[in-house]
Symmetry: C2
Subunit: 200 residues, 2 copies
DNA sequence: TCAATTGACATACGCGGCGTATGCCATTAT
DNA sequence: ATAATGGCATACGCCGCGTATGTCAATTGA
């Protein structure tokens, strides 16, 4: 029988490592995740890990990249469906809050991410969420929907606001109610960006 | 000569540990800070640390408590000086952004804090910043300055927004300019909370 | 077809950091 | 003055990380 081409085997190994690490990081957090443990769980050893990713941080970066890509896809999906650009933007923000509620995303991207890799806005090519948001803000500005303002600065603040909104929701006694209130508050504050002619 | 009363010596030891840990955590981060190293730097050993704080996390909590108290004092100072309640509130938010720019606060409170202790909104008695902000929002609502909305939900989002604003500023090529833009954006979004009669 | 070479991955080793168990000495209590 | 408390140091073992080294399959070239 013909063995699988080598490249496929390698890709599979990398995928197994990323997958196992993602599960471990999401479950017990970066610091508590033992490389020996989760590589063994994937039928491998730390040898493979160091070979492909250099160190624990490198693997973490790879996991982060994977999750980030998935988030981008979902965000684009949301804004694509909206009737207006502004509505799409608001929906994206709300969707971001909802995603940040998922334990894996919250733990890996939002809690451990900054501690392990530092300032999230500096992650190489992985701060796509902020970039996507900035672009949308720029377009909204061009068409006169919102006030002239630095889109990148705004995007960062919205990013932070949604993150902490999700913290709030996740630990509320009544998450559903907390979510309602948070989305309401978020929309209010986003409304502050609208130009006077657009404000309702 | 009469030896200092024992209680004083103990308080001094605790203070030395907190101070040394704070410096180490602020400089190299929680994970990289070696307990052996910074206790030795304070003329002590890990024995004292475990005796007083139980473990590394316990000491971290103490450091966080100290920093938090200082932040509260500074925030109150700011809002006390403002001519109107609304102005005081806005000033507080801006001051929070500025504090979050200080490396020690950014590293310990904002980066490592969530990773080590989890969701910041759940820190026992240490989420005072959010509580202070919530109270102010409630008062603003009572006097009709801002729209009726859940103050705690809003406070969390503002907290997150200011934090990420400071990330943005800290790494900008021109921090001063980035700060200007961020404050401008922040004020805009806060403006979304104003009731129609108050909006300008 | 058969070396020679590359590279994917495992194994083996040492180091440092953490937590605990234990011991010592000064202060306080009786 | 002796007993008892407790603040803090010392000593030990474990575990996790990173590196150096080894092995074997897959590719390459003549």
């Amino acid at each position: 029988m013909a063995h699988r081409p080598r490249a496929e085997m390698i890709a599979e190994t990398r995928a197994k490592l990323v997958s196992a690490a993602r599960a471990a990081f999401g479950k017990v957090g970066y610091a508590e995740a033992s490389m020996d443990d989760f590589t063994a769980g994937a039928g491998l050893t730390r040898g493979a890990l160091y070979h492909h990713f250099g160190d624990k941080k490198g693997l973490f970066r790879a996991v982060l990249g994977e999750i980030n890509s998935e988030m981008i896809v979902r965000l684009n999906e949301v804004s694509r469906k909206a009737p207006t650009r502004w509505q799409g933007f608001v929906d994206e923000c709300v969707a971001y809050v909802e995603m940040a509620l998922e334990p894996e995303i919250q733990r890996i991207v939002l809690c451990d991410g900054p501690a392990v890799l530092g300032d999230p806005t500096q992650w190489p090519g992985q701060d796509d969420c902020i970039r996507v948001m900035s672009r949308n803000l720029q377009k909204l500005m061009d068409e006169g929907t919102i006030i002239e303002i630095d889109p990148v600065a705004v995007a960062h603040q919205i990013n932070g606001a949604t993150l902490y909104a999700s913290f709030f929701i996740a630990n509320a006694a009544d998450p559903r109610e907390a979510s309602r209130k948070s989305v309401e508050a978020l929309k209010l504050m986003l409304g502050g960006l609208l130009s006077k002619s657009e404000a309702h």
